[in-house]
């Protein structure tokens, strides 16, 4: 009996020792399920070929990416070594000690210069302007627009548009023009509609969409340094911007009340809408004939300017962070050193990833590689983002609760909704002692 036990224990010990030695050669990166994650897997396969370290990109659908990540982090789990986390998570993840401090790594590799400034500010630094960094900008992203070039360039349409609105039909330079064009193409009898916008309120879809209007109208969500929101989130500009978003909702296809990136690309591929809002990360699918039968007739433009000439876009994209509970932190750092190399960043862009490397972004080669890369480059230097405080999720849900009924249901007014939101946010900041 004793011999048997010793045998079993020995077997276990052998299995454990051999499995840990294998583990050191394996790294797991957690990300959401979308095309860029597949591109990243292709990229890291090259790392394996170079070093022998196997890197796996594990994914989960967007809708539970946040929940799954934080469940793992809060449980101090070591299942993932790195996470390509959303920009607004930095506050929550750094204050709770989930992310490894990357400030030294940043300084050593001079990343504030190497990466585009907006990506450093929003994906890596927390608190704002503190000089403390928590992630390496990995997938730059922002909201842009695709449009039906073939519809826009149809001579009959151009003539009719000019007769009705008094100016030429072209990709809109302002939100007011975008509204006119949406109205012009909105023809429910022909099953053609004006515009596709984000309306999904289960995570940050609707809020991102509205942010595009707010930022370009010259508005802000609040003062990120002092947490002041009164008179900022409910400013005149923001009221006008939200009213404009509500107006655009009137020109969307039927049933457009829980839509995000999938539906908005479908609006173009299924001949539903003339213009469609989406992250640049989803544009590769639109120039691909296999996934978009209208690929030849699809064009792109950057988020238009507001009435006073301001032009900004809502930031998407993520930085890559090392998880504090990982058993392979050193190996992860080595991987990141490889990842930030110029030639790797260039390769990342070639595979379809949106590099944040300033050098690659500025290169002619990158800007001419696709029909939307130039718009992407321009946009990445004028992006703004949501709050990154640890309680951002509450702020997000409150914004959804206040705006969604007005935008999709026409309940109340934009002013009422934003005033109420200012009240909610004030109460939340008070609760967490951000303001007195």
């Amino acid at each position: 009996m004793r011999k048997k036990l010793i045998g079993i224990a020995g077997g276990f010990a052998l299995a454990l020792s051999s499995s840990t030695s294998v583990l050191a050669q394996e790294l797991t990166i957690f990300w959401a399920e979308w095309d860029p994650a597949n591109y990243l897997q292709e990229l890291v396969n090259e790392y394996e070929a170079e070093t022998g370290v196997q890197v796996t990109v594990e994914t989960t659908p967007w809708s539970d990416f946040q929940t799954k990540t934080f469940t793992e982090l809060n449980a101090k789990g070591s299942a993932y070594d790195m996470v390509v986390g959303d920009s607004q998570w930095i506050g929550a993840a750094s204050e709770a000690g989930h992310y490894v401090d990357m400030t030294e790594f940043f300084q050593k590799h001079n990343l504030t210069e190497v990466m585009a400034p907006a990506t450093v500010k929003y994906y890596a630094e927390y608190p704002s302007d503190s000089g403390k960094y928590w992630s390496i900008p990995a997938e730059g992203d922002a909201v842009g627009w695709s449009y039906r070039k073939d519809w826009f360039e149809d001579p009959k349409e151009m003539e009719a548009f000019k007769a009705k609105y008094g100016y030429d039909l072209a990709p809109p330079a302002t939100w007011a023009q975008m509204r006119d064009i949406a109205e012009f193409f909105h023809r429910p009898d022909e099953k053609r509609y004006g515009i596709a916008i984000y309306t999904d309120n289960s995570y940050d879809g609707l809020v991102m969409g509205v942010e595009n209007a707010i930022f370009s109208y010259g508005g802000e969500l609040g003062d990120y340094a002092t947490y002041k929101v009164d008179g900022i989130i409910n400013s005149e500009q923001n009221i006008k911007a939200v009213e404009m978003y509500r107006e655009l909702y009137g020109f969307t296809p039927p049933g457009w009340a829980k839509t995000f990136f999938v539906e908005n690309n479908q609006a173009i591929t299924e001949n539903l809408a003339a213009m469609s809002m989406n992250y640049f990360a989803f544009f590769p699918a639109l120039v691909n004939e296999a996934s978009n039968p209208n690929a030849a007739g699809t064009g792109f433009f950057a988020n238009p300017a507001g009435p006073d000439g301001h032009q900004f876009a809502a930031l998407g994209g993520q930085g890559i962070s090392v998880i504090s509970y990982s058993e392979n932190k050193e190996e992860s750092m080595k991987f990141l050193e490889w990842f930030i190399k110029d030639d790797v960043q260039k390769r990342w862009a070639e595979l379809g990833g949106y590099t944040a490397s300033a050098k690659v972004l500025e290169s002619e080669e990158f800007q001419n590689a696709t029909p939307y890369n130039k718009a992407f480059y321009e946009t990445m230097f004028k992006v703004k983002d949501f709050w990154a405080t640890p309680e951002y999720a509450e702020l997000l849900i409150q914004m959804n609760q206040r705006l969604y009924p007005y935008i999709t249901g026409g309940e109340g007014t934009a002013k009422d909704a934003l005033d109420a939101l200012a009240g909610d946010w004030n109460a939340t900041f008070k609760k967490y002692n951000r303001v007195q």
């Binding site: 000690g97 039927p254 049933g255 009340a257 849900i397 009924p405």
Partner: protein, 301 residues
Amino acid sequence: MATAVLTTLDPRSRAASRGMSDIAIRNLFIIPTIVFLIVFNIFPLLYSLGYSFTDFRASSSAPANFVGLQNYRDLLADPFIWNNFTITAKYVIVSVVGQVVVGFGVALLLNRDIPFKGLLTTLLLLPMMLSMAVVGLFWKLLYDPSFGIINYAFGLGTFEWLSNPDMALYAVALTDIWMWSPFVMLLSLAGLSAVPKHLYEAAAIDRAGSLYTFFRITLPLVAPILMIAIIFRTMEAFKTFDLAYILTSQPTTEVISIRLYKMAFQEWQTGMSCALAYIVLIMVLAITNIYVKYLNKVKER
């Protein structure tokens, strides 16, 4: 009494030959279950009760502070939470009434000699065997205003089932009725087949009308089992999450468990969400208790 139920161990059995008593065998079977229940049910229940009096957040490393009844006070004073409860109540009423009417109706139709009765019953039971998430996903397609088959079949044009804030909750309830009416039907059918035939014969001799027979014989005799179906369905409808979450994101369909999920796993307000979970638990217990009292009354008759 207990000893009358417990049979003693057969002295020739292997367990007895190893010197185990019947009490030991009984404990061997019961103790693991009890331990399992305590570890996975009772302990978390009490632990979360403790958390409900704190400002604990599972997402932060900050220690939990005792806040007394503050969470309960905040929740019960929050108009959004009351709105969630109103939506849940509306959903429970529409969905359970619908299931009872449809389920009991179909059971009455099936409770006679018809060809292929067994096959028909089995086919009718299919919806409740599907996964909630799958049902949600394909009803979303059925309801689609552009290509959904429901609008096409009924000639409703581009009627917006799920994007219309006034309609969305009914659309979710309709899906729930489709899915769970078979459950009510199954229990009703069991109740109906247990009604003694001679009662109907006696009623026929007395020339009682069909309505009279239904209200004086059928319904009272099926009532207890129907009540059990209603209790189960009410509890389930009160806790509903999957269907509403998948089908639509209208604020008018945000039932209490969706709010609870967001509070616990998106906002990570662990203390507050424990308090809300307790409020929901107390409500479900109270409603079930009322039903059980009524059930006992029905049984006494």
